[in-house]
Symmetry: C2
Subunit: 208 residues, 2 copies
Amino acid sequence: MPKIVDAEARRQEVVEAVFRIIASDGLERASLREVADEAGLAVGSVRHYFVSSDELLVHSFAVVIDRIAGRLEEAYAVVESLDKASAEHDAAVLTLLGQFLPLDEQLAVDACVWMAFRHAARIRPVLEPEAARSHRAVAAVVGRLVMRLMPDGGSIQEHLVTEAERLLATLDGLCMHALLQPEWMTAEVCRDVLTAHLETLVAVPSNR
Amino acid sequence: MPKIVDAEARRQEVVEAVFRIIASDGLERASLREVADEAGLAVGSVRHYFVSSDELLVHSFAVVIDRIAGRLEEAYAVVESLDKASAEHDAAVLTLLGQFLPLDEQLAVDACVWMAFRHAARIRPVLEPEAARSHRAVAAVVGRLVMRLMPDGGSIQEHLVTEAERLLATLDGLCMHALLQPEWMTAEVCRDVLTAHLETLVAVPSNR
DNA sequence: AACTTTTTAGCACAAACGTGCTTGAACCGT
DNA sequence: ACGGTTCAAGCACGTTTGTGCTAAAAAGTT
């Protein structure tokens, strides 16, 4: 039998190298040579764990999606465990929504990588399936949250879809601005915008 | 004197070629050779009008910013010319906000290009000044609009900033989704989300 | 007709890229 | 101790990129 190496762990190390490169230098710099250097390996070694550059990138995309979706599900479970009217509930909702934003270093890397891959997927067909999965996973959690938060429980299908999409758009927009214009979009502004949005979600206008 | 050619018009043609390439194949494919082919010129010719690849890209970024900002100012002038309570006013506001979204082919190209450059500016320092200018220009219009739409005229500075940033984030998020997930984010959903947002902007919760 | 200056075109080079392929090195079971 | 399998590393080839440089074509002025 061969040399024993935890192959999955090695793959994960390479993926982490990909993340660091994308966060600091962008997706276009995530070449095999750069990734190998960042991971402290040779190009041939990286290619031993990932058949092609495409496979490496698609797998990296999948990993970041799973990480984000996992955090969201976890945070949503907390929300669901609390009483709807309690103050802890509101705090838990803010914590959930904060998982989208680059509020700490780990979240910032994930947000960078996520954004980069989603935008790249518009052009590169290999990334498209994962982009669609990412959208479905996030929309599912946000949809459940909106259903829980809306006063009528989201009974009117059209309003639910609109409000879910509205929250999703605001989140992605906030994430974008926090990544691209960090000097204008501080963590505090993010929080203010989110709380303002939540107030508008609870208080549905009467004329609808 | 030399061969007479309208240099500015030629530059514009090259820029249009850049736009088409970015919209269809992404910014990373906007190389000198690709641009020259798309514009029907030789690489040397393109380089005669743009000293370097960087200058071409920065100038293209500036052009798309001017185009978008121009449309916004134009649409805002219409809004300002109408009575605040009229139905035409609401329609004009929707028209203004629609300038951000890829609702027709021209807007879609501009939105693609704008997004691509803004994201690239995170990594490429040469693009950063234009990205900052773009943010200021758009924020100015949106800020004025929010000030006009808020019931108290945006007299409380913090609320104004928050609401302006909230609208800006929603717009960018909508634009992103419309570009990346066009099958989920139709023009109709965009309109619904925007009208819902405007309702929440007019009806400020009492506890604030 | 000759000259000058702009415009257009193209060559050549170094650098970086993905990938097919080969070569040692490491290590476990026999 | 040995053999077979996996891991690690690297070479080589064809592309593509930006850019410095050269040179031909075009056209108004003299």
